[in-house]
Amino acid sequence: MLLGVDTLSVSIGGAMPLEGIRFDIRKGEIVGIVGESGSGKSLTALAITGLLPLIGGRVSAGSISFEGTDLTKLSPRERRAYNGRRIGFITQNPMTALDPLQRIGEQVDVVSRLHLGLPPHAARARTVELFRQMRIAAPEAIAEAYPHQLSGGMKQRVVIAMALAGEPDLIVADEPTTALDVTVQAQIIHLLAEEVRNRHIALMMITHDMSIVAQLCDRVAVLYAGRVAEVSDVRALFAHPAHPYTRALIDCIPRPDMARGALTGIPGAVPAVADYPSGCRFHPRCPRATDLCRTQVPALVTDGRDSHACHHSLRDTHG
């Protein structure tokens, strides 16, 4: 096991936007974290990368173990040693992800200088090589450029190269393509998946695009309103989802055989932290909700590496 997140809760101020999160990631695995906006995907990423204090949050319960070490128990200095070296991070918006005043190359060089101890010229050679692998044309020139001279897609390639530079075991990507043009989204996401597979790096990819999950991921964790709805193997998840929320997400994927105007959505919206309902948090939007769902929080039922939290699991009905 590379990464084990166990009953992780996160507090910001008096609120607890993340509660009892549990899933794990094996070496070289691609795990998708899905859910609508506000379900706690980004907070999970910030917790794993140790960046919660920057937004005023903290881990209030549970553990995040990385190769057996509980990251939540480390001092800030010890924790920092993992960042960039063992865990790479790719942010949502490449337009604002880079220091506007520093040359692109220097921003990538620093990772291999800091973590691999390379001298400046060797670090630059490595940066240029990484840029080449990320299919950046004229990598030497790009290394000398400033962020404002690059397109969004190009910047995200740079950010991915930056995440790869420290030879990490895990890359956390927070919706790596949502801020990009649709035309480059597919390119970038496949490039990322390819590089990660080639290097046997585990990838935790946050997305709300179920078709990307179906194409690229080995496993999926579905989050809803700060709790785990379901964690499963990707094939099993699409074939036999246990949680009605997962079912609803899958039903939202447009298919070529659909009739015109048949695009569906999930009625309602994810509640804000202050308005979390009692019992199962999905019950106000759930077609299968009963009185039990309104009062009792469903336990996270575990079966091997899989788990789900639903009183009326779809799998129970299907046998």
Binding site: L98, D99, V110, H148, M162
Partner: protein, 308 residues
Amino acid sequence: MFTYVLKRLLTLVPVFLAVSFVIFMILHLIPGNPVDNLLRVGSSPDMRAEIEAKYGLDRPLLVQYVIWLFHVLQGDLGTAIVARRPVATIIGGALPYSLQLGGAALLFSSTLGILLGIVAAWFRDRWPDQAIMGGVLLGSTLPSFWMGLLFILFFAVWLGWFPVSGVRGWQSLVLPVLTIGFGGTALVTRVTRVAMVDAGGRDFVLLLHAKGLSPLRIALGHVLRVALLPVVTILSLRIGWILGGAVTVEVVFARPGLGTTLIKALSQHDYPVVQACLLMLSVAVMLGTLIGDVLQALLDPRMRHGHR
């Protein structure tokens, strides 16, 4: 970079012409006349006309302006009507003191202000921040003439460390610089702190932390550079201001300077001197913004490439 500076310089030409026109016109349109100061009570109108003709004051205003501008551009600031000396000599006598005081005060307030701003932002909302921001509140609200008197009483009269007034030696510069620098430091500290906190909350800082850089390195190597952009703007605006803004301090410490020269000339309606002083101050402001723009361009590649 060279073309950038050249372009900025060229845009200053129309500004200079406009400013010089306004300065000239305002002075000549306000009531009062320098000739009044030269005539004895009961002098005949003929004598008035004679003096007016001597200084060209009898010609149409626009003609006077063109002649004046023409001379100024050749470096001839004219002769003071009341003081009866070349204006260049009067300005030349005062300017070094103003430059000395203004330069030292600017250096003092920018260095200390940026330093305090960084410390305050680093310890945001903890006691060092609160202490510094308390000092900033004092610095920006206490009037400088009162501060100056307080400094004189404490450091010059009681402790006897520095002279009460005058311009002899570097010691005489300390108290005036402190007096002016106090308010300046407060301003720079506040701007630096806000800019550091703002820049520290940007997206790219998250990624710097994710790369595993130390917080100190992120603050000083990355956040500070971004935060300096607004600080440089504020400082460049103060370059011009500090030359003429020291009037009260010059009076309190009995120092010669552009400020006192201007006040004296104004009270005597000595047009050539007032015009020259105001022109100096406007040129200083213009140069200040130019220096600010150049510094911005040096700090920010987006400015150099015209992306902002």
